[in-house]
Symmetry: C2
Subunit: 323 residues, 2 copies
């Protein structure tokens, strides 16, 4: 029977990149997306309609999720769900917690319910380094605690991890929890590079930066992220749940450096105006050291480090904007 | 101005014991409870109606929670919220995840929303050792990870912790997260001792036990639990969030031993019939070693160990049933 994979949030930034790669396999892909950030055009025409189904679905709505899974099940055996749907506007979720409750958690909750109803054994879940919160100078590896997320986004990602683990105990066969770092690339739908690029397109003379620019973060190119997900998926494990930090192996780059690079590419004569403090917004973590030792021990290494990934993404995003 | 404390789930087993102790302080106590497990009689008459207000409230319903907080705010300055409301039927929550979503998580979500709206600075949250899941032989201390709960109850307690941490970052002044062990005492509303007692009252000749009786758990008497919560509340901390395991200092007792003790007290001639396997239900953790080193380092020690706590609770519950 035909093998079917569902990609929830598959028309978004990371989803669209994953879909491209999964289409190299046999079987049918069903993309579910509410198109709040994702766009049909990101996945349109990548394959014939018998191999790639793109369906609008509010993944926090039980009836819509159940109907979408029922439709997928009619096309073959639904073997895997990739769940990448989430609110991606962290400050908006801090302002109004309902946004992350619906977009980041209830999506997971309803997907798990549908997986149980349709006996889908395998979940790949896009979690986030945001679940760690601000642990100061501690190295963030998978065995550290307590987990004290500082944003509702991080809280609802952790809630999703937890609910997935409980589902693994009760009915799933395997859950891979990928803790994503900051990811860059195209088609960009949000993030610091896109923000800077848009600002400079509006006013090419000055780039206003939230905070003093000293925030330092590691960035992974979406190409490497998808490669890591597929590597973890291939790996056999002892239990049912695998939790892995995905990220580059370097300490990252500062916001100041990113601002300078975007200015250079988009509007070389622009002045950069920094704000105060080393946090861009409530819920932002200024600097952290994110351990990817476990993933490296699996033999995986990124092709691009943070600097190269950011530089390439800046160029890709500029190109996306016709520059 | 009068100081007001809200006790959510205050008519339940632990809530009612906490309320008794908090009434020794000045100010007004407002008990909010949906009376699904809790009962009015557990707190009725403990104080005059100007010092103790008992109000029915579905704590997962936004409008009801907001109205209850508005009423509390009219009585004085609401300084602290004790949140002990949750689903306490773990197997029911595994069967139907909506039960823990509503009862264990949305209660927290709505309480936090109300705390923000009414500028209440301090939250005391009753979390659970269930957030750790089944980490095998690892000692469960507060700095361990990953947190992989095996029940929806544990998942939604972890979600509540996470959402409280994010709230601390954004608007709260202090959050104490108490990770409760298995707690025994009266007024019992659920738990293994009550189950065994009820079974023997129905049929005094045999006690059927789920699993083979080798599950071993540590138990704390509710008297000690409340004492620990108050000790943690008094302690000054550096950040805004304090996470503490509360529990006895011993390794606990087996289900077999508990069954024997209940039989001895309730129906001495009953035969005990064990089931198979060392898990009573999906989501149950057979044995774990729960570290209370942090709490002990604060100078706290329980008055009763697991054996003494269980024996006393068996006697209290038998008395509660007129035996």
């Amino acid at each position: 029977m035909t093998s079917v994979q569902i990609v929830a949030g598959g028309a978004g930034f990371i989803g669209a990149n994953l879909v491209r790669r999964l289409l190299e396999e046999n079987g049918v892909l069903v993309v579910l997306d509410d198109f709040s950030r994702g766009r049909r055009e990101y996945v349109h025409g990548l394959a014939d309609s018998d191999r790639l189904v793109v369906r609008e679905c509010d993944l926090a709505q039980r009836s819509e999720v159940q109907a979408a899974f029922a439709d997928a099940a009619r096309r073959g055996t639904v073997a895997e769900v990739w769940h990448l749907a989430a609110n991606s506007d962290i400050p908006a979720g801090v302002e109004n917690p309902d946004i992350d409750l619906r977009g980041t958690f209830l999506t997971t909750f309803e997907i798990l319910r549908a997986m149980r109803a349709f006996s889908v054994p395998t979940l790949h879940f896009a979690s986030s380094s945001a679940i760690y919160g601000d642990l100061g100078s501690a190295v963030l590896h998978e065995s550290i605690g307590p987990l004290l997320p500082v944003s509702n986004y991080g809280a609802m990602k952790l809630a999703s991890e937890a609910q997935s683990c409980a589902a693994a105990e009760a009915y799933l066969g395997r859950v891979n929890i990928f803790r994503f770092p900051n990811v860059v690339g195209v088609p960009a739908t949000h993030g610091v590079i896109l923000d800077f690029t848009r600002k400079l397109l509006q006013d090419g003379s000055v780039l206003h930066v939230l905070g003093d620019g000293t925030q330092q973060k590691a960035y992974l190119h979406v190409f490497d992220l998808v490669g890591a997900m597929l590597a973890i998926r291939r790996r056999e494990i002892v239990g049912k749940v695998e939790v892995v930090n995905i990220g580059p192996v370097d300490d990252g780059v500062s916001v100041r450096w990113i601002a300078e690079q975007v200015v250079q590419r988009v509007s070389p004569n622009a002045r950069i105006a920094f704000g105060q403090g080393n946090r861009g917004w409530v819920g932002d973590v200024p600097k952290f050291t994110y351990s990817t030792a476990r993933l490296q021990s699996y033999g995986w290494a990124p092709a691009l480090d943070s600097r190269t990934a950011v530089r390439r993404a800046i160029d890709e995003i500029a190109t996306q904007h016709g520059l």
